[in-house]
Amino acid sequence: MPKDHGIGASPKRREDARFLTGAGQYTDDINIHNQAYVHFLRSDVAHGKITNIDTTEAAEMPGVVRIFTGADFEGIGGLPCGWEITDKNGDPMKEPAHPVLAQGKVRHVGDPIAAVVADSLEEARNAAEAIVVDIEDLPAVVNMKAALTSDSALVHDDLSDNLCYDWQFGSDTEVVEKAFSEAAHVTTLELVNNRLIANPMEPRVAVGDYARANDESTLYTTSQNPHVIRLLMGAFVLGIPEHKLRVVAPDVGGGFGTKIFHYAEEAFCTFAARQINRAVKWTSTRSEAFMSDAHGRDHVTKIELALDADNNFTALRTDTYANMGAYLSTFSTSVPTWLHGTLMAGNYRTPAVQVNVKAVFTNTVPVDAYRGAGRPEATYSLERVIDKAARELGVDPIKLRRQNFITQFPYATPVAVEYDTGDYVATMDKMEELMDLGNFDARRKESEAKGKLRGLGINCFIEACGIAPSNLVGQLGARAGLYDAATVRVNATGSISVMVGAHSHGQGHETVFPQVVAEMLGIDDSLIDIVHGDTSKIPFGMGTYGSRSLAVCGSAMVRATEKIINKAKKIAAHLLEASEADIELKDGQFSVAGTDKSVAWGDVTLAAYVPHNYPLEDIEPGLEETAFYDPANFTYPAGAYACEVELDPETGEVKIEKFVSSDDFGNVINPMIVEGQVHGGIAQGIGQALLENASYDENGQLLSASYMDYAMPRADDLPMMANYVVDHSCQTPCTHNPLGVKGCGEAGAIGSPPTVVNAVIDALHSGGHKVEHIDMPVTPSRVWAAMQA
């Protein structure tokens, strides 16, 4: 009988009542009395010199309050980058300025040039059309390799070239070269990890408000991490101290990484509200989102795998070009480096691994973390080259992987991380069982009888989640700590508010976090509410990304609850006239061990706030505790995925017929929510593999700039229920956090793209087409072209 409450149960979500009745409060639902509206005039060319901006006529248009241009932001800080990468030569990365509004040059289509603030949005838009901007076109830098040639135009004139950094990591060059020279077989693959756009269904919104009477600013924003925005915007951009700046991220309609970063529009609305002493609201249209939300992925990689005569992996080397776009978004620089290079060993014992990454400036929208952030890129390169090696060597791709699995833990990789725990054999076994691989040949024959080609794709992955130990990331260049915080406030009647630094934008924290506290205290979870998303209500927090909420903030919550229990036991001991050491807490009752004497949770909490009979000489009244938790290591979720595709050789169309994920997330608090997270991740991974592509032409025009051009996965693009299983029954608990959890938010998006592409290549080979690789998205036209080649 499954549990119906506490850890391991799947209570229905308490968030749902408001979302299902239209009562959610998203940022665009917030309106401040007398607010003004801003419309941004954005560049429609990728690269150009601004020679003139004339706002005279526009300023006279009806309803216009004020028009801002880059000149209004001179002397004000630009948008900061949160992670400094050191070049392999020891030099710091190049870090160009990122002004709130363009100054002197525009550097990508969508770069904001001017901002019109007016009484209504319509008036702001109309006035923006009357602004005259003269731009002298410059050659657009789009292709990364061309960007690094000596005759390329410069995205930033004050830099010597378009190279942000050239990073090398892992095993020494001599060691790797020796392994390759001694290899019995080397497999090489060149591939593209396609540029994606996160596309949370809620576009970004910012409402800046200002109270001149007490000089306080408030920003309502669609953020995954309101405290991070307060710190970045307050300290680095606008110079507003924390105690005069409140950042609120209410209900947020999905993030997937793209709502981590501090954006120009947030800084603008906060700044402009102070200037005009009136609230300023911006609501992104979807068209603006395509050209102003940070994009994801966009790597071009060459990967080489060396094997000995027994098919053991002996060395791995990668050479990647990573697109930064026109400016450095908040965590952009860490994605192709520390979030990518450290995962390059995958699930395997490869003794020598070297990762080389050139980060490149181009005249495109900035690129930053998107669901998985670096780990999907690492997994894709590695698992595609392993699949190719298996084919070249004529060995079973499952057997080749199994033979090279890491089986002893902890395991220190050649790329600096130590996996604390895992069982890759178990997840592979489970995947094989659920896929019913014994009947694959029969299914292939059935497909062939219909004139279709059936392919099987296998993939393993590991990720580093629960970011991250602050001292470690500090050494690696992070300009922030990556702990989290929670305050458990017990009220006099025994109800509890838990203020958490994590932010829920679909993950169901309001349901899951109380399950943990309720289990620890033995009380009903209806007594417990979670408070998040408002810097004025919660102590601090680094927010939600990198599958970190439960592993890091949940751990802080456990620590704070442990403090509550310790203090409550002291109070109970006093009430029961017993020794504190003899007090036991079970099912919400404090009892004296070995006796029938007890007091209830509510008796203790009331005593804490009405301390008439209370050990005032020993402890303070009240019952509220805060804990900050800094993780000792990353967590390492891992899994084995498989899918079967049916490929129509007449059209090149690929359909996913069967999909299985076998994940190890460590302990699971709410299985229903974990499965939902995996479903969503897999849909995004399948989207990357088959459908999605952010495409620029040679002039830097974004061709896929609406839902008519950017193919979002729809319900009938995804596997049917009967042949789709997400499993998380293999559980090796994390050894270093109190809940033993690893994180589940990104696994699906990391594990699925290579699974799908491996299956497509297998299908083609089954039909006699010796196709070694097709870049994502594997569209019918690309498949068709590969078949004809």
Binding site: L20, T21, D29, N199, R286, G676, H679, I682, D716, M721
Partner: protein, 161 residues
């Protein structure tokens, strides 16, 4: 400006609107019914799906003036006055058919329209009907299950068909 009168969730409302006021703007800004969401500007995402005279419509595709005299249904009118969820809403909750909640009102309104016309849909019919509603969180799996359950069918049995 022109005066429009319509019945929204059973209640008659009369307002002066501009000719270019979209139904999304009318509902969200004039009536403060903010459950109808705007997720795109090309009528692709379906987050603004409402009912106009019983038919499923993307509110961003109609002007308020075009709805003069119409009966409008929005997400705010789906639950009972005491907050009890209707069968579709309850199934979305039971089957975890929503995460961030932003596409959810449109999904519920689209599902309601489907089940009105096709009370016992197949899985493929549900998926086809959701062609105009994008969800980025759930991968649709649990939305499909929720809609099939709301139709009174046994979900595993439908899946096996």
């Amino acid at each position: 400006m022109a005066e429009v009168t319509m019945k929204v969730n059973g209640k008659s409302v009369t307002k002066s609107v501009k000719g270019n006021t979209l139904m999304t703007e009318f509902l969200r800004d004039e009536l403060r019914l903010t459950g109808t969401h705007v997720g795109c500007d090309t009528s692709q995402c379906g987050a603004c799906t409402i009912h106009v005279n019983g038919k499923q419509v993307k509110a961003c595709t109609m002007f308020a003036g075009e709805c003069d005299g119409a009966e409008i249904g929005t997400i705010e009118g789906q639950a009972a006055p005491d907050g009890t969820l209707n069968a579709i809403q309850a199934a979305f909750k039971e089957y975890h058919g929503l995460q961030c909640g932003f596409c959810t009102p449109g999904m519920v309104m689209a599902a309601s329209s489907l089940l009105k016309d096709n009370p016992k849909p197949t899985e493929a019919e549900v998926r086809h009907h959701l062609e105009g509603n994008i969800c980025r969180c759930t991968g649709y799996h649990n939305i499909v299950r929720a809609i099939l359950a709301a139709s009174g069918q046994d979900v595993p049995a439908v899946a096996a068909e």
